[in-house]
């Protein structure tokens, strides 16, 4: 259900719509847990041994696993059902959002103007949305982040908010902010003397993972950018409703309007894997330009293929082939250290962390993880399964 949308822009599904939505959370759990585990069992007990007999070695990477598994009906059912489940998640919330469209737009406008917090929002009618966003329904979300159904429209923000509420099955936390909450708590404890005055979140969508940074560092001025106008409008209204001041801008992270050396902390989450390789390089250069000396750039992402075994690489790369995430594998094939170094960050200033989810493990575990970093990812990293951990990397300037 849309039960993790608990703010002033909450929508009210009819009992039938709510049943379709809760069903989709259960269905996704079945696909990502039962079917996914089954596929691994079939791989380990049939597909891999067959490969080994033929080639006298095990598959060396995700591509070889993929090729070997592709013909198996288990793979086909898993894939077919995962694609359908993904689309059905969005279709389960669309009628509810559609019915509330006018109300949502009115409420968002009122919240934007309200004095509940001193945030701001800027959109640009002449803004050119990059084709990597405008020409595709990323992860099968009809309308993507940028479709506008009218002036000052916030619809796609609501589609995303309610969609990920059903999609995340609880793993994103009660307010869909587990990533931002876990990582900001980790950074505060890891670097107690670090007190950023200006923070930027790149590719913020509806600011659900921006707000925790503003809460963690209440004295900081927090900015958030995204190329989608409806999502930044919605994000601003959502932050205002929470009484948290955040300044939202419709801007491209590859080339922003901000001044050189104007931020102490630049964060992003689940952003880079939706950007083409060329763009990623520009984003890192831009982050370096925007950071003050001594500032930190930190990106939460799916773990790179380099950190994973062949099967886990295949498993995460599945989205890139079949879930309208064309940039996901190219990004995960990149070496995080090299991307930072290429943008001019000193090699010795590279950082990477695997952080337990605050919602699943609690505060103590997040704080304890400050001392327990191994720099390794496992099959719980970045995946919707019991015991989820968030991977992030970046560099100090």
């Amino acid at each position: 259900m849309t039960k993790y949308v608990n703010h002033d822009l909450k929508v009210s599904p009819t009992p039938e719509e709510a049943a379709r939505q809760t069903f989709m959370s259960s269905m996704r759990m079945y696909v990502l847990h039962d079917l996914a585990n089954g596929m691994r069992t079939v791989y380990e007990s049939e597909v891999e041994p067959k490969f080994e007999r033929k080639n006298k070695r095990t598959p060396k990477d995700g591509v070889e696993v993929h090729r070997a598994l592709k013909k198996d009906p288990t793979f086909k059912f898993y894939s077919s059902m995962r694609c359908n489940a993904q689309e059905m998640v969005f279709r389960s919330i669309l009628p509810t959002v559609e019915r509330s469209q006018d109300t949502l737009n009115k409420k968002a406008k009122a919240l934007s103007r309200s004095k509940k917090a001193n945030g701001t929002v800027e959109t640009d009618p002449n803004f050119k949305v990059p084709r990597s966003v405008s020409a595709i329904d990323v992860h099968r979300m009809p309308g993507n982040y940028d479709t506008e159904y009218g002036p000052d429209d916030v619809t796609q923000g609501a589609v995303y908010d309610n969609g990920i509420s059903v999609f995340s099955m609880g793993f994103f936390g009660e307010n869909l902010d587990d990533i931002g909450s876990s990582i900001s708590m980790f950074i505060k404890n890891k670097y107690p003397k670090f007190a950023p005055k200006r923070i930027l979140d790149m590719g913020c969508t509806i600011g659900h993972n921006t707000v925790p940074w503003a809460k963690a560092y209440p004295k900081a001025e927090v900015h958030a950018i995204d190329v989608g106008a409806p999502v930044v409008r919605y994000g601003h209204a959502r932050a205002q409703a929470a009484g948290v001041p955040v300044h939202f801008h419709q801007q491209n992270a590859e080339a922003t309007d901000f001044e050189d050396e104007s931020f102490d902390l630049i964060f992003s989450s689940m952003f880079l894997h939706e950007v083409p390789k060329k763009g990623i390089k520009k984003v890192f250069k831009e982050a370096r330009r925007l950071l003050k000396p001594g500032g930190l750039m930190l990106h939460m992402e799916l773990p790179p293929n380099k950190m994973l075994g062949a099967y886990d690489s295949f498993y995460l790369d599945w989205d890139s082939y079949y879930n309208k995430e064309p940039f996901y594998k190219p990004f995960r094939d990149m070496d995080p250290r090299a991307v930072c170094a290429d943008a001019g960050f000193a090699k010795s200033k590279f950082v990477q962390y695997v952080i337990p989810s605050l919602g699943q493990y609690g505060e103590k575990a997040v704080k304890d993880s400050v001392k327990k970093q191994t720099g390794k990812a496992d099959d719980q990293t970045g995946r919707f399964a019991a015991g989820i951990h968030w991977y992030c990397f970046g560099a100090w300037k």
């Binding site: 809760t22 079917l35 077919s80 969005f90 279709r91 669309l94 469209q101 329904d137």
Partner: protein
Amino acid sequence: MSTAGADKKPLRYSVRGKDTRFFSAEGVDELVAISMALAQELWVVKERLAAYEGLAAKKKVFTAKEIEGFKFTPAQRAKLDAESQAFIDRVFFTLRERVEGLAADPDEPAPPKEP
């Protein structure tokens, strides 16, 4: 499907560049999609029935309006959520069997040779 008023642009429901094809036999991908949707609709009915039962237990007499407004208690909700997992498992049992069936006994007596 659209629930928008006549003056409004309906929201987009389908994904641009629909591209999901995994089975070589024609129609199987569609059948998967259809059976998932059926499962979902059947679940809607089951949940609605549970609402009837919940209400009947509470009141003995009820109106349609009362059913529409019925809300599950947290305990009833938790029970339903657990039941929906079991329900999915039943509908898609054939896929579980594909995995669990791997545990064949090497000594299993073979059937007669197929003609």
